[in-house]
């Protein structure tokens, strides 16, 4: 079996700064900063700032719960190393994509997004009116789903459904014969 490709991680709020610097004597400034990926920053933000549990946070980022825990553990390890060794942290890289939410203007009927994710939306960019709602996932958002190419298969009747990251296959039941599902292509 070929190794699994890294699934892109969804980042809702990119960090406001590019990194962190220590101060005081015994500085090791400029030399070997610790690189922290955007996905690790996002994991830390979801878990310790927004106080989500690992399961909910993993679904926000579009990865499985174990993967999320690995990203989160790596983030904490890097921060601890930077603190103890007095190193800089630079926030960069990682396999990520930035996603912004859609809004729906009630006046002109258009849909728009908010590219400056850290700033709140005040008015419609097209008509300037300030009456809008968060677009429901049924509107333009439904084309946003990223297919992972993974399928859950029913061992009983062979029915296949698309695998949703974060939900183990054996927690899904076959819509036809109610048997527990299994990951397609997995021999066990």
């Amino acid at each position: 079996m070929s190794p699994n490709l890294k699934r892109p991680r969804k980042i809702l709020n990119p960090p406001l700064v590019k990194g962190f610097k220590p101060y005081g004597p015994a500085l090791s400034q400029g030399r070997d900063a610790i690189m922290m990926h955007f996905e690790e920053y996002e994991a830390l933000r979801l878990c310790d700032y927004d106080m989500l549990n690992h399961h909910d946070a993993s679904q926000e980022m579009g990865v499985s719960r174990p993967t999320f825990t690995r990203i989160y553990a790596s983030a904490r390890k890097k921060i601890a190393r930077a603190f103890v060794e007095g190193k800089q942290i630079t926030l960069e890289g990682g396999k990520v994509y930035f996603d912004s939410d859609w809004y729906h203007c009630l006046d002109c009927g258009c849909y728009f997004n908010n590219p400056e994710m850290s700033l709140p939306v005040t008015d419609c960019p097209l008509c300037g009116h300030n009456s809008f709602t968060r677009a429901m996932p049924t509107s333009p958002l439904d084309s946003e789903e990223i297919s992972t190419g993974d399928y859950c298969i029913c061992p009983g009747c062979g029915k296949e459904i698309e695998h949703i990251p974060g939900i183990p296959c054996n927690a899904e039941y076959c819509p036809v014969c109610q048997t527990r599902m299994r990951r397609k292509g997995n021999p066990s």
């Binding site: 996603d99 859609w102 258009c110 997004n113 590219p115 960019p125 097209l126 008509c127 300037g128």
Partner: protein
């Protein structure tokens, strides 16, 4: 700020093209100078990757807002990381001239 609108033709009366990557023309409007430029879409005939090609064309012109009827799945993450504002208009009867007028009217 430069604003791109997907258009079916190269006149102000042309209708908004509902497709982003495969529209006939891009109308690039500069809200500071008021200039309007019609660019034929070179990516229209591409078999695949018309969307990313269009993004490249528009980002080379420093467009910060794109108005179209629809954006493909490949496009949204690229444009999000470029900080480009996207606007979707589902109404098929809108003309390019009308949209530009609406944008200019907003500032007053």
């Amino acid at each position: 700020m430069k604003i791109a609108i997907t258009s079916r033709g190269n006149t102000p009366d042309a209708l908004l093209d509902q497709r982003f990557g495969r529209c006939n023309y891009f109308v690039v409007h500069d809200s500071q100078t008021g200039s309007i430029e019609y660019i034929p879409n070179p990516g229209k005939v591409l078999e695949e990757g018309a969307g990313p090609a269009a993004v490249e064309l528009l980002s080379s012109r420093k467009v910060m807002m794109i108005i179209s009827g629809e954006f493909g799945i490949k496009i949204k993450p690229i444009l999000d990381s470029l900080n480009v504002q996207l606007i979707i208009i589902k109404d098929r009867e809108r003309t390019v001239g009308g949209i530009i007028q609406m944008l200019n009217h907003k500032k007053l």
